[in-house]
């Protein structure tokens, strides 16, 4: 086995030498680029390999990493200042993509991909999941290279489901029944979901789609007062109020995942990315008891997880665009996507998931299978498709908190719809 692996590596090496002759990786030798990254498992996984790129290209990469909230602020401020001191950065296209593109801060990438002088032959754009490419394309053009592709998933405690003889929920009704049956048993809350205002909107989205609702009408008005919205939010907030952990209006993913990892939750739904926290005995007391299931189907009868994509984007003001592009394509190449997947980051390239190496080392094949299956139909629009995403998320977040606290759902959503339409008026 070891020898085979060695042979494979040798073949890879020879292969890449062959490619290197055709493609000039050193065309920007001697330059330096500055990259801003979110403190994300992808960042942790890729950082040790950066010197490899520096040796390959002769480009020096200066990386700065910040926790998510500060990271997003920092990128915004740097882009708005327009100094060109920033070259590449992580982006969730569905969150800031519209704003950044309309502001003229994102370098369109399609012409780079199609230029053989700039893009190595092995890049293979068709290898990315179509959902990832769709998410990273705004207004028809590519504005980022996908680095991670997660879907909404149901995480549950295998041992508790077995002990109380409960089947893994396949529908929203079964989800509620399971939450009810397990609530306050063995010191767990029935179900955990994000309840902290704006942060909860992305995880309410799959429940909204499951009830047949959508964000905006074709003439770009808020649909928050639709019956589907009322049903979705009533269901979501009801789960939390009746079977959720105490204080759920303050909880986002860090709180939910740590509660589950401390054995205080029977199940939760959130991004598939969080597996890495839960099945690691160093961070989880229930590492060997985590079950994974597809996001359950709503009253529409369809499974409606959302697909969340992180991408690597280039600043339009960058002064080292060639070097930056070389870095971006290297960071998202097949080998590096496999590397991050081996570190439990849901990769955005099919080849990584299908590789013999990943299949041999995969500790949770059921997680991989669900993630791949869900990507076929997951909805990439997990945020309201507006420019002022932050403000609309905040407006909706307040309705979510009101609902969880037992307030009138219809009133809260009507208020949110009116406020959202005021914001949309400015975007006309």
């Amino acid at each position: 086995m070891k020898r085979m692996f060695g042979l494979g590596m040798a073949a890879l090496l020879v292969g890449s030498l062959g490619l290197a002759q055709n493609f000039n990786w050193e065309q920007a030798r001697g330059t330096q680029i500055r990259v801003l990254l979110n403190q994300h498992p992808w960042t942790t996984a890729i950082t040790p390999f950066l010197p490899e790129f520096e040796r390959l290209s002769g480009v020096r990469v200066v990386v700065e990493t910040f926790p998510e909230a500060q990271f997003r602020n920092k990128v915004l401020v740097e882009l708005a200042s327009g100094t060109g001191a920033l070259d590449a950065f992580m982006l969730t296209p569905n969150q800031e993509g519209n704003l950044y593109l309309k502001s003229g801060w994102l370098e369109p990438l399609s012409s780079y991909v199609s230029n053989p002088a700039l893009t190595a032959p092995g890049f293979d754009q068709a290898d990315f999941f179509p959902a990832s490419i769709r998410a990273a394309s705004i207004g028809g053009g590519l504005v980022g290279l996908p680095i991670q592709q997660e879907t909404t998933m149901l995480f549950y405690r295998k041992d508790l489901f077995q002990k109380y003889n409960i089947a893994v929920p396949k529908t929203f009704a079964e989800l509620e029944a399971a939450a009810k049956a397990l609530h306050n048993r063995d010191g767990v809350a029935g179900i955990g979901l994000r309840g902290r205002g704006a942060a909860a909107t992305s995880q309410l989205a799959p429940y909204l789609f499951g009830h047949g609702g959508d964000w905006l009408s074709p003439n770009r008005r808020s649909r928050f007062f639709d019956t589907e919205w009322v049903n979705a939010l009533t269901f979501y907030s009801g789960l939390l109020r009746n079977y959720g952990p105490a204080g759920s209006t303050t909880m986002s993913w860090p709180e939910i995942t740590s509660l589950f990892a401390q054995g205080k939750l029977a199940m939760f739904t959130d991004g598939s990315l969080f597996k890495s926290i839960l099945d690691d005995p160093r961070t989880s007391t229930v590492a060997d008891k985590v079950g994974y299931a597809a996001f359950p189907a709503g009253p529409t009868g369809k499974r409606t997880p959302v697909a969340i994509t992180w991408a690597l984007s280039m600043s339009k003001a960058s002064k080292n665009k060639t070097a930056t592009w070389l870095f971006m394509q290297w960071a998202t190449n097949k080998q590096n996507q496999l590397r991050v997947l081996l570190a439990d980051v849901p990769a955005s390239r099919k080849s990584a998931w299908n590789s013999a190496e990943y299949k041999a080392k995969d500790k949770t094949p059921e997680w991989s299978a669900i993630n791949l299956e869900q990507l076929e139909y997951a909805n990439p629009v997990w945020n309201p498709p507006v420019v002022a995403v932050g403000e609309v998320r905040d407006i909706l977040g307040r309705a979510i908190v009101t609902a969880i606290n037992g307030g009138n759902v219809r009133d809260a959503l009507t208020r949110a719809a009116t406020q959202t339409n005021t914001v949309l008026d400015k975007e006309r």
Partner: protein, 300 residues
């Protein structure tokens, strides 16, 4: 001639300095103040008259006092003023009372006074964000140590910052814990610089400790108390770090003070013109209150 000129030159220069000393001495300070405070303030005022988005994605336009009129009709603004007021009204009086008690204790001959005084300063000199993160953990209803204590004492669990009615008192508790030492140190300085004579005279006249405190210590301590009050009022009204880290203004907007709301408006909604107007309102409010306290002090 050639020999005299090097002598006259420094003379001339020093006479220039002499004549303009009153401008030159405060010059650097004035310049610094201008660049770091006055200029940003003017810029903020200009910004507050515009309906301006952070980027070119939306047109910016001059709206005059439009933002301020919007603010007066903005429920969320009034909520933030109310939360800010509640926070200050809980935190500052408690800090003054506890600060005074600690100062009186330290003013007596306590064993190991040096180390005790150093230890009591710890909350004040720690990094606010680190403190806030620790408190956030302690407040956690399931995993936090505060509920563990409550349960050990046979009391029920509390939701702490997850409860809309409890969140401001809980945040004020953090502020009290963090800033009481400062008040104590200020008041201790006041106590230690008091003249001995009035106390001696009062004791000779047979005053009880209670009378001694209310008739001598308390009046003599007034100026120091007002100084501590003004400092803490201004700071408490502007509190940002602990609130942003522990609750981000939540649940909902139940702990969103004016400062936190302005931050949201600027850095998350990208409405920089409106955020600038909110901050002008904060400046006006804080200044008015500080001036009010000062007038109260002079009236005494």
């Amino acid at each position: 001639m050639t020999q005299t000129s090097p002598q006259t030159k420094p003379e001339r220069r020093s006479s220039f300095i002499d004549r303009n000393l009153r401008w030159l001495m405060p010059g650097p300070a004035v310049l610094l103040l201008f660049v770091l405070t006055i200029l940003p303030l003017i810029f903020n005022l200009v910004l507050s008259t515009q309906d301006r988005f952070v980027s070119a994605a939306q047109q910016s336009s001059f709206v005059g006092l439009g933002n301020y009129l919007d603010i007066l009709r903005d429920e969320r603004f009034w909520n933030s003023v109310w939360q800010m007021t509640k926070f200050t009204l809980i935190a500052v009086p408690a800090q003054l009372v506890f600060g005074l008690l600690i100062a009186m204790l330290l003013n007596r001959q306590v064993p190991a006074q040096g180390p005790v005084r150093a230890l009591i300063l710890l909350p004040m000199i720690s990094t606010p964000v680190a403190i806030a993160l620790i408190w956030a953990l302690m407040f956690n209803p399931q995993l936090g140590v505060l509920n563990y204590f409550l349960e050990t004492l046979g009391l029920g669990r509390s939701l702490w910052v997850a409860d809309e009615r409890l969140v401001i008192p809980a945040l004020a508790l953090v502020d009290i814990w963090q800033w009481t030492p400062l008040v104590a140190i200020i008041l201790l300085a006041g106590l230690q610089t008091m003249p001995e004579e009035p106390f001696e005279a009062a004791r000779i006249d047979g005053a009880s400790p209670w009378q001694l405190f209310w008739r001598v210590t308390w009046p003599l301590l007034q100026p120091t108390l007002f100084a501590a009050l003004t400092l803490r009022l201004i700071d408490a009204l502007k509190t940002f770090d602990i609130i942003e880290v522990i609750t981000q203004g939540g649940p909902g907007i139940a702990s969103e003070t004016l400062n936190v709301y302005a931050f949201r408006a600027g850095f998350e909604f990208f409405r920089v013109g409106y955020a600038a107007s909110l901050l002008t309102m904060l400046l006006l409010l804080v200044t008015a209150i500080a001036v009010g306290v000062n007038l109260l002090r002079r009236a005494r």
